[in-house]
């Protein structure tokens, strides 16, 4: 079972992602901020990380930099409410950029592309 870390400060969204991606057959861990996410990355060998950008404390871009310093090979999907961060070159380090949507289809598709079922 592929292991996914979801970093998202909205607790309801964490719950939703956890349940839906769990149903799709993934082992999902959630973290509400960048520091908690880093602690999880050190503990567990994830196959994929999905992160928000605007979060209290460190933002998603800072988190990506930190993760890449630790493990260069983990694929990362940015999942933000903002379309405009796509133009920020710092987000290019991520493998995919999915704008938040009430349908999780696009997100699921990208996950499948990056790590398989």
């Amino acid at each position: 079972m592929k292991k996914i870390l979801v970093v998202e400060d909205e607790k309801a969204l964490c719950l939703l992602y956890g349940e839906e991606l769990g149903k799709a057959g993934y082992d999902v861990t959630t973290a509400y901020d960048a520091d908690a996410a880093m602690a999880e990355v050190k503990k567990k060998d994830f196959d994929l990380i999905i992160t928000d950008i605007r979060m209290p404390g460190k933002n998603g871009v800072e988190l990506i930099t930190q993760i890449m310093g630790l493990r260069k090979d983990i694929p990362i999907i940015i999942n933000s409410a903002y379309q405009s961060y796509k133009e920020d070159f710092m987000t290019w380090a991520a493998d995919a950029y999915v704008v938040k949507s009430s349908s999780l289809d696009e997100l699921k598709l990208k996950i499948k592309e990056l790590v398989g079922e």
Binding site: L13, L16, E20, P56, K100, S102
Partner: protein, 447 residues
């Protein structure tokens, strides 16, 4: 030795040249917070008053796209009235405020006569009218003196019927090569010929008026641009603020539509959906509030009871639970210049921020005291996480927030109110050491 002089002196010596008096009246009026209309009236007054250029009547046209629209016509209706007005205006010691008041009354009185005659008068600035006086002056951007108007073929007959004089002066209002309007002057009652000196002086007044209109127009455009920029930021912010609840509502609704949902899960999802809908409502409410808030004129009022009312309000009482709230309000506070409702909102906002920034058990201190005879200080200090240096520059920008569910409009509102009442805001903070917001208001001592 150091001597102090009032640089807005209005009491010139009797034999001071009238040009000096005139320029002094005009430039001083621009120091007053008069409206554009009032300041134009000052110019018109200067052109017609005995102590000014001394024309009998002045007519103002303002530019409205590619047309010139009659605004008002200042001057007496009869020779008797003219004599009376000039007597009043040349009374020694009469200031520009009195003159404007007088002319405002005069304009109201003239509504039924002179001004009404030109109020509906609109000249298109097309090829045909640009060949005839008075529009010719505006189109060519030069001053023109017309004599023997009734015999002159280049004078608009419709205009001649209204002005009914044979000699008049037309000059355009121009700044930076842009046309703002036109002024027409005559001596309908004294029949005095218009002299080159009068034309020079009148043109000078026109130049000052044009520059004033120009800067007032620029100011208006700047405000519009700022508004547009704020709207852009708002649109961006709203996208984010609305998207999160919408994704949550959509996602949990989709789950409900799946077959075999347990009752427990259905209840949980509906509760989450309800909460997110509430959040959307809050966002919409706050946006609406921000957009429609138009600030009221500041007035002098008693700050003491206004401060007490905020501390007694149920929201603040509830919010302050778990904190040490330390309030020191000086007795017999002066009268403070601000809109009283906005003043309460300001304090409420500052307290809200202070409580939000401070961990439970921390201290929030409020001080209200007079700084000197003309200023009053309201300060709110917390022992929270402080403001980081990069955040300091953004504090008052609309939609900037460090709160998870904040809108970033509280400090923007405070800044707007303080700007309106001529106050100042000082922020002191170091990361990790709390923050202090000090608002300095204008105040006035009660007798």
């Amino acid at each position: 030795m150091i001597e102090k002089y009032n640089y807005l002196a209005s009491d010139f010596e009797k034999n001071a040249p009238k040009e000096m008096m005139l320029l002094s009246i005009i430039s001083q009026s621009f120091f007053q917070p008069f409206s554009l209309e009032d300041n134009l009236l000052v110019i018109m007054t200067a052109l017609t008053s005995g102590s000014g250029v001394g024309f009998n009547r002045a007519m103002l046209f303002r530019r409205d796209g590619d047309r010139l629209r009659g605004e008002y016509w200042l001057g007496p209706r009869t020779p008797e009235e003219a004599g009376y007005i000039w007597e009043v205006l040349s009374t020694p010691g009469i200031g520009y405020v009195e003159i404007i008041e007088h002319n405002r009354a005069l304009i109201r009185k003239n509504e039924d006569t002179l001004s009404r005659r030109i109020k509906n008068l609109v000249f298109a600035m097309d090829e045909q009218t640009c060949g005839l006086m008075p529009v010719l002056a505006a189109c060519h951007k030069e001053a023109y003196l017309v004599r023997d108007a009734s015999k002159e073929p280049l004078v608009d007959k419709r205009f001649l019927d209204i002005i009914q004089v044979d000699e008049f002066l037309c000059f355009p209002l121009i700044a930076r090569d842009e046309l703002f309007g036109m002024i027409i002057l005559d001596n309908a009652f004294t029949r005095a010929p218009i002299k080159p000196g009068d034309i020079k002086l009148a043109s000078l007044c026109g130049l000052i008026a044009s520059n004033y209109i120009y800067s007032a127009t620029l100011h208006e455009r700047l405000l519009d641009a700022e508004k547009m920029a704020a709207m852009g930021e708002m649109a961006m912010f709203v996208t984010h603020q609305l998207r999160n609840p919408l994704v949550t509502i959509g996602g949990f609704t989709d789950q409900l539509l799946q077959p075999g949902v347990t009752e427990e899960k259905r209840d949980r999802n509906l509760r989450i959906i309800r909460e997110e809908i509430q959040r959307l409502e809050d966002i919409v409410f706050q946006m609406g509030h921000f957009l429609k808030v138009s600030l009221k004129e500041p007035v002098y009022f008693d700050a003491g009871p206004a401060i007490a009312a905020v501390f007694n309000s149920p929201e603040i009482v509830a919010k302050s639970r778990g904190y040490a709230l330390n309030v020191k309000v000086e007795e017999c506070l002066p009268q403070v210049l601000c809109d009283p409702t906005s003043f309460g909102e300001i304090l409420r906002n500052l307290l809200d921020n202070a409580f939000d920034a401070t961990p439970p058990g921390g201290t929030v201190s409020v001080r209200a005291y007079r700084k000197n005879l003309s200023s009053f200080v309201l300060s709110v200090r917390d022992t929270g996480q402080g403001i980081s240096n990069p955040d300091k520059g953004q504090l008052f920008k609309p939609f900037f927030t460090t709160k998870e569910k904040g809108m970033g409009l509280g400090l923007t509102f405070i800044k707007r109110v303080m700007d309106t009442c001529g106050g100042k805001i000082e922020v002191q903070s170091r990361a990790g050491k709390g923050a202090r917001f000090k608002l300095i208001f204008r105040s006035w001592e009660k007798e």
